[in-house]
Symmetry: C2
Subunit: 265 residues, 2 copies
């Protein structure tokens, strides 16, 4: 049954709105995704929201109507509400007409089956949610299996990260781990750990990448700590032509991921 909600003070409205905060996401184990494109991507990846909110206009779109019906059939709380209330929940003047609250997946490292993909992206102390989402999207486009977040990274389930991922949050596996946990797990099986460093002597285009390859990306400001670089099986550099500084973390990920992939053709 679709519920009609027209009050800003409604408990579900407040609950969805609270999911913009990390504390509430952690307490509830839920996160928000906004817009038909991302919600359809989630559905196509087999994931339906536990709560789905939409405006009357949103429900008119055939694909949206189909997903709302599927979510309801699967037990979701389906809430028809006003554009104003959706705007309040999304924190945007021009809100999407569809919004879902999804269960956060288990992000334990032991849920990752490395044999399911040739490439995995490992990011350390990533600070910017837009970068995180963009890296997920790039990983998806480059055929990575998922993203392993090391040390104190920004929350991958933040609204900004989900939005920047353009749905790749639902197609990429996500794990979080401390560095020592990650290294122990990595060395318990096959896998080449590849870092990029401006100090490396091996050119990224002349290097041999093994499968599975774990591409390690450092923090936006500091790059990789020295002992993390030392733990890599291969350290490569992307030669820079420029007078300004290096590539940003997400760009370096894109260039490396596509270079690794093309080296396997």
């Amino acid at each position: 049954m679709v519920r009609q909600v027209t009050a800003f003070s409604n408990a579900t409205v407040k609950r969805l709105r609270s999911l913009r905060e990390k504390k509430a996401r952690r307490a509830e184990g839920l996160f928000l995704a906004e817009g038909l494109r991302i919600i359809a991507e989630a559905r196509d990846s087999g994931q339906l929201p536990e709560i789905i909110a939409f405006s009357p206009e949103g429900a008119k779109h055939p694909l949206a109507a189909e997903i709302i019906a599927q979510a309801e059939a699967a037990g979701a709380d389906a809430v028809e509400t006003t554009a104003d209330i959706l705007a309040k929940m999304s924190g945007k003047d021009n809100p999407q007409m569809l919004l879902g609250a999804y269960r956060q997946p288990d992000t334990s490292l032991d849920r990752i089956d490395r044999s399911t993909a040739d490439l995995w992206i490992v990011a350390q102390a990533l600070r910017d949610p837009g970068n995180l989402g963009t890296i997920l999207r790039t990983g998806d486009a480059a055929g990575a299996g998922g993203l392993i977040l090391i040390d104190d990274c920004v929350d991958p389930f933040s609204v900004e990260a989900v939005r920047a991922s353009m749905g790749a949050l639902f197609t990429q596996q996500i794990a979080t781990a401390r560095w020592d946990e990650f290294i122990a797990w990595l060395r318990s099986g096959e896998g080449q750990l590849v870092g990029t460093s401006l100090k490396a002597t091996d050119d990224y285009l002349d290097s041999k990448y093994e499968r599975p390859c774990f591409l390690l990306i450092g923090n936006e400001q500091q790059g990789l700590p020295a002992d993390y670089e030392a733990a890599c099986d291969l350290l490569v550099k992307i030669p820079m032509a420029g007078r300004a500084d290096s590539l940003n973390a997400a760009m370096a990920t894109a260039v490396m991921a596509f270079a690794i992939r093309s080296s396997w053709r």
Copy 2:
């Protein structure tokens, strides 16, 4: 002479603050850059601010002090102010301790000398200032000569674009033009126009790139219009592995720019 400014109502404070708005930037012909890293990059590229504002702490840094002295010697208005006032001007809680107002360069297409670089990036209807800045930074790293902005793009001199460029705004030439102007200019000399399209049949890794190469990047949402694609000398695709959508505009630029550059080695 360094002026001391301690009033929020000071005319220079208001003037610098106003440069966060496009209207004021256009009227004044100035734009803002924040932080020592970017301002040092500008200086290293031969550009000094017309107004430089700094906190007492900011002026203590030897490199900052050197640049402040150089700017003053070149006739800049040097303003020592408080951290609170810098915060108001930069619109950030945690402001940079150094802020400069720079003269906007002439962005006429006829200022571009295509013989000075092998690669030029051409972006159409780019909407996001962070993407624009990131594309500038990527162009710098990949050895591009500059960025040509076609149709209605976001302002390259916005604070967000300058920040995301990490100083590449000062090392890359910038031009703005309508599409028909650009095509007339392009065809008046040598140059291969390369577009990316999911519909293309040529793989980006198997294609031959000529110099100078003009890499055409489409709008974040719609990609390139069909007639723009038709005007390209070469249309290539980056094969996507993913289940979600394509690479974003800045990522596609990075992958293409580095692939073109590596094809010339």
